[in-house]
Amino acid sequence: MPKRKDIKRILVIGSGPIVIGQACEFDYSGTQACRALKQEGFRVILVNSNPATIMTDPEFSDRTYIEPLHAEAIARIIEQERPDALLPTLGGQTSLNLAVELAEQGVLEEYGVELIGARLETIRLAEDRERFRNAMLEIGLQVPAGEVVRSLEQALAAAERIGFPLIIRPSFTLGGIGGSVVYNREEFPAAARWGLSASPVGEVLIEQSVLGWKEYELEVMRDQADNFVIVCSIENFDPMGIHTGDSITVAPAQTLTDVELQNMRDAAKQIIRRVGVETGGANIQFALNRDTGRMVVIEMNPRVSRSSALASKATGFPIAKIAAKLAVGYRLDEIPNDITRKTPASFEPAIDYVVVKIPRWDFEKFPGNDRRLTSQMKSVGEAMAIGRTFKEALNKALRSLENGWSGFHAREEASITRLSRTALLDDLRSGTPDRILKLWQALTLGIPPQELCRLTGIDVWFLENLRQLVEFEGAITREYAERSTLRAATLRRAKRMGFSDRHLGLLLGKRETEIRAMRKAAGVLPAYKIVDTCAAEFESFTPYYYSTYDEENESHPSARRKVIILGGGPNRIGQGIEFDYCCVHGTFALKELGFEAIMVNCNPETVSTDYDVADKLYFEPLTYEDVLNVIELEKPEGVILQFGGQTPLKLAVALEKAGVPIWGTSPDSTDLAEDRDRFGALLDELDIAHPQYATAVSVEEAVAAAQHIGFPLMVRPSYVLGGRAMEIVYDPTALETYMQQAVRASEEHPVLLDRFLEDAYEFDVDALSDGEDTAIVGLMQHIEEAGVHSGDSMAVLPPYLLSREQREDILEATRAIAARLKVKGLLNIQFAILYDTLYVLEVNPRASRTVPFVSKATGIPVAKYAVRLMAGERLAAMNLRVPAEPPYVAVKESVFPFDRFERADIFLRPEMRSTGEVMGIAETFGNAVMKAFEATGIRIATGGRVFLSVNDNDKARIVPIAENLHKLGYALVATHGTAETLASRGIPVQPVLKVSEGRPNVVDDIKNGAIQLIINTPLGHRARQDEYAIGWAAIKYRVPFITTLSAAEAIVRGLRAKGKHPIEYRCLQEFHRLL
């Protein structure tokens, strides 16, 4: 059946901000879908609150709404846009849940909107754990024993019947949030309560544990004619008990016979039919007992998922694009396979390589939390690698992570190599982010794979492969000891196993560059193979490559002028989708300029690693070795480093030294901006103020410097992104503690000390420069005062508190710095204004996190202009028009993963901890702020009680806030001190006990649902326990929690505006027309 003619306008809902469990893979899927639908001639209406996505670029849909993802907003948009259909299967769980809500509210029916991609009944059946279980039993499949419960009493009874250990799985959640593995009765009630509260419908499945069973996933697609294909099978390295998103995964399945694989396929076919996915993709999880082969169904997602993104990148089969086409009526056999061009999409990819994905965690940002991996996902990103063997792919994936690892070994991880045998074996029992390296340590100690399998549940096939890697390390060192050199054959074998030059260097006591020279002299060079969906059976037309040390190279550089863009690697807090956005734009710009655009990246979630984004894609680790290999083969005219965040910049100096032509700002200028001393001197020379600073490599040095500069101080290690380990210290004792505990400073890694400008206003500037002329494209004001990381704070464009003179000062300083650094392309500067003095806090001559936000807010494709500047165009010749003051306000707000961690510090700090961002855009500041808050998931009740507790410094400022809240009709409750202040000003307030003061206290109130909004600014160390108790209760019971007065003021403005002007929803295209 061809394309449907009865639908013309399609509403697509995105997945919103990046959170743990729902990351930029949904930008990849949404972008593919929007592109496919537009190509098919449909009018696409998109709603997504996340401005950092490619999909929300105005050219990818006809009407782009960057608006909060709640039913109310979407209902209004439906009313305005009157779409014929809603496609909810490409925006993750968020989109699916919204579709259900809109259907249940009758909105879809009222406006005649048809759900395409998945029917309501299908979503309900797949998501309702009880019905799903029953459906599975009905079609003769096995499921682990389990009971669906809706209360603690029911849960306790079920747990007794099922027995421990058991698994708690909340219904309708993403990334397994609220889920846990419970080993005993004692832990159970808390875990069950947590699960029940995490489920939006208050329902959990108490399930028999199949801990330690092998875990598999099948990515499947089905069309309306019941044609069915498996795109990819995935085997989890980590067994059942660890969330798939937290597992190392391998594609295709490695340890299944064809009989088992086909049984799984048959089951998948039955499941997708029973659940009723008629047009699109789904993901089905199975567990398999390694001793008996018994197979049970775990769950199914009737939508495109994180695993679909992985499967797409692993096979070259564009699942999201095809899912979109199936949803509008096509059959699988009517869609051509882009890669072969001659064969249809109705086939199952045959792959001739092994794919390994390894997650990346940021536990160090959430100290005090258990690092054990459970059924609730905690990773923030992932790297994928392709090799011809598991060994090669694993080694490549390990070095893609940018953890400082260079392959499968823990030689540089003293924390692991120092572990005693007992501690090591004990640690291995539970999954941890570094378990893979602990396995190396165990294997070097001679612990056999069989024993490790018993301990970890990891299949012995994987472990034996690991053991061979360890064994070969020994062979290499022995040969080198005997011959003082390595035979070419040995070197070649090592490379075929995926050993990096750096790893070999560690084994031989040589530098990476020496190994590289030795390897090249021996003629051991990588070959590049094509990912072609068909194992070379057909000629392929898609330039999607990976390196391996096999004989035949299939990548033949063209004669065209070419430029390489280095991507950002795995997502992490501080470096995420924003940088991929820039890379993708850079790629488009290069193509427009007539260059061959070549992308190197290793993050499977991204749009940049879609095979049809760049002219050529190398799915490779972003290390010196792997990147230089590509460069030496392609010999590009330029390499762009400034889009991928810190990842490519770290390579700048080494690449330049290797003679690589680097486009844009020179590595020396980058270094100049990073080097405190050099940069301080530069600012002094330009007569621009900056906070006094010092660097210290020891406690003594730090204390001495502090005396000179004065407290408070902002301290941090050098060369970090996202403010890792950044803190504000108020006295020498705190400084000493920091120097000793938080960071281990050394000659190579000094600690930076800056005078902290307390109470200053901060501004972020994004600018474009050709080295002489500079244009500011985005000037944003932070809502929170200095001390909160710019990535975590709310930002407003245009600024709301900035005089004409101050603006001029900022422009002037930006121009001067850009010219002095000879910036070519993008530049980001953070300014602070304190008592009318403008200070420069930081300069980054590269794409910043705010580039996509600025682009969305101003309509200027900033990254594209940057490429043209790097290509040599002059700013003056580009006809770039920057609107002086847009007639609307855009607010960026951050979202945090605090709900994933038991003991998160919920107060914002200089260290960045947000995972994603949203944008609120409206005619007034108040409405924009309210939209931004709502987009982060905070819905503030229109009435009810507000809890206030602020520190002494904030007492004066809280009064007007409280007054306004009172006028808006809220009842106020406050802790003793705050209540006194308010009462003395005649504001009605009811005192409430702190946790330490007895019961019932504020936490009891929160748990009882008696509080609708919390405004609590940190009171210092003494009150910490109280505040944490409040914060954690707020997170668990989903009560909006505001920790800065500036944010509270903004909310009040929002609430007042909401009362005066009803919130309107407008698309970006309309906003941009106002410019």
Partner: protein, 371 residues
């Protein structure tokens, strides 16, 4: 031990030996299934072929006592990228390496199987040799080129059963839950039949008697079976004239169902033409469309020859199945007589189970025929 894979066009790949050391000659074909090597090795259709797996990690789950397609390895040699260092599977009772050695079959690993695949794709399937010999390439190549090829040779007689036998064979081959009643007696012409075909027929309710390929049709008719099945098998269908003759005599007298070589023989018997494909179809992911409904099956394929789509008499034969990758003929049925066949493998093994309905079709044919 070192080993070489030499192609008739002179290409030489150096790798490592596994399985039986020595020499093997055959037509080199590549197979794109990700697993199922045990089934592939024991499929008699691979007689006289050196099979290269495009998936690089082979041997992971070893060899088990269940997943056999015959009693021995028929592939002449096995070509892979990496031999698994270990066997990890609850059913396995030996490693792939041991298994090949036990059956005296040479294997070669650690070669660039993708480069090999691309060569075969671009230059066509050709004869090749796996050898552990140190003899000079020129000498080996001369011997390889002087040797026989697949085309024009009847190798069915090298794999067919020597004497008739009944299926199921015994306890070991019996299904766990056999159907309550075996409704039809089917005579199977064994051109190199896979056990999975016999199992599928049995599951559909057939009692089977398997006959040597050269059994005269009269002998079959004398047993008065309800239907005759024409099996898969190796090599070129054209020289297997006796089979074509036999099928002509059976046409219209018994319901006929053919798979793979059996399909080609039926095609020749109906006046069609066969020809050799450039590199054949060997995999478990080929989309085939069943024309009467338009439904797509993902099929298991293993053939180097095809029946030409336009060679069959249009007034007598209806095309039922088409390969969506290259539009070649995958199945047809006689418009009047009870005879149909498919080029691919509905019994799969290895591969998806999308096409099992064909065995039911055969049952329905027999029901109709005898009604």
């Amino acid at each position: 031990m070192k080993a070489r894979l030499i192609l008739a066009d002179g290409t030489c790949y150096e790798g490592l030996s596994f399985g039986h050391p020595g020499e093997a000659i055959g037509e080199v074909v590549f197979h794109t299934a990700l697993c199922g090597y045990q089934e592939i090795l024991t499929d008699p259709s691979y007689h006289f072929q050196l099979v290269a797996m495009t998936y690089p990690q082979i041997g992971n789950y070893g060899v088990n006592p269940r997943d056999f397609e015959s009693r021995r390895i028929y592939a002449a040699g096995f070509i892979i990228r990496e031999l698994s260092p270990i066997v990890s599977h609850w059913q396995a009772n030996r490693s792939l390496d041991e298994y090949l050695r036990h059956h005296g079959v040479p294997g070669i690993h650690d070669i660039d199987t993708r480069a090999l695949t691309r060569r075969l794709r671009d230059h066509g399937a050709q004869m090749g040799m796996i050898t552990t010999s140190n003899a000079p390439l020129s000498a080996l190549l001369a011997r390889l080129r002087a040797g026989k090829t697949l085309v024009g040779r009847d190798i069915v007689q090298e794999v067919t059963t020597a004497a008739p036998y009944r299926w199921p064979l015994g306890e070991g081959e019996a299904e766990e839950s056999p159907p309550a009643r075996r409704r039809f007696r089917v005579a199977v012409y064994d051109y190199g039949v896979k056990f999975s075909i016999l199992r599928s027929l049995q599951r559909s309710g057939c009692a089977l008697e398997v006959f040597p390929a050269t059994t005269p049709p009269e002998e079959i008719l004398a047993r008065n079976p309800d239907g005759v099945f024409l099996s898969n098998g190796p090599g070129d269908p054209e020289p297997v004239g006796y089979a074509v003759q036999a099928v002509r005599k059976l046409l219209g007298r018994k319901p006929l169902f053919g798979i793979c070589l059996g399909h080609q023989i039926l095609g020749l018997a109906l006046g069609g033409r066969t020809r050799k494909l450039k590199f054949g179809h060997h995999g478990a992911n080929h989309p085939v469309q069943y024309l009467p409904t338009g439904a797509i099956e993902i099929t298991s394929q293993n053939h180097g020859f095809i029946v030409d789509l336009d060679s069959l008499p249009g007034d007598e034969v209806e095309i039922t199945h088409i390969n969506l990758n290259d539009q070649t003929l995958e199945g047809f049925r006689h418009k009047r007589l009870s005879a149909f066949s498919v080029q691919y493998h509905p019994e799969s093994a290895p591969g998806p189970h999308d096409s099992q309905y064909l065995f039911d079709h055969f049952i329905q044919e027999m029901e109709r025929f005898h009604a």
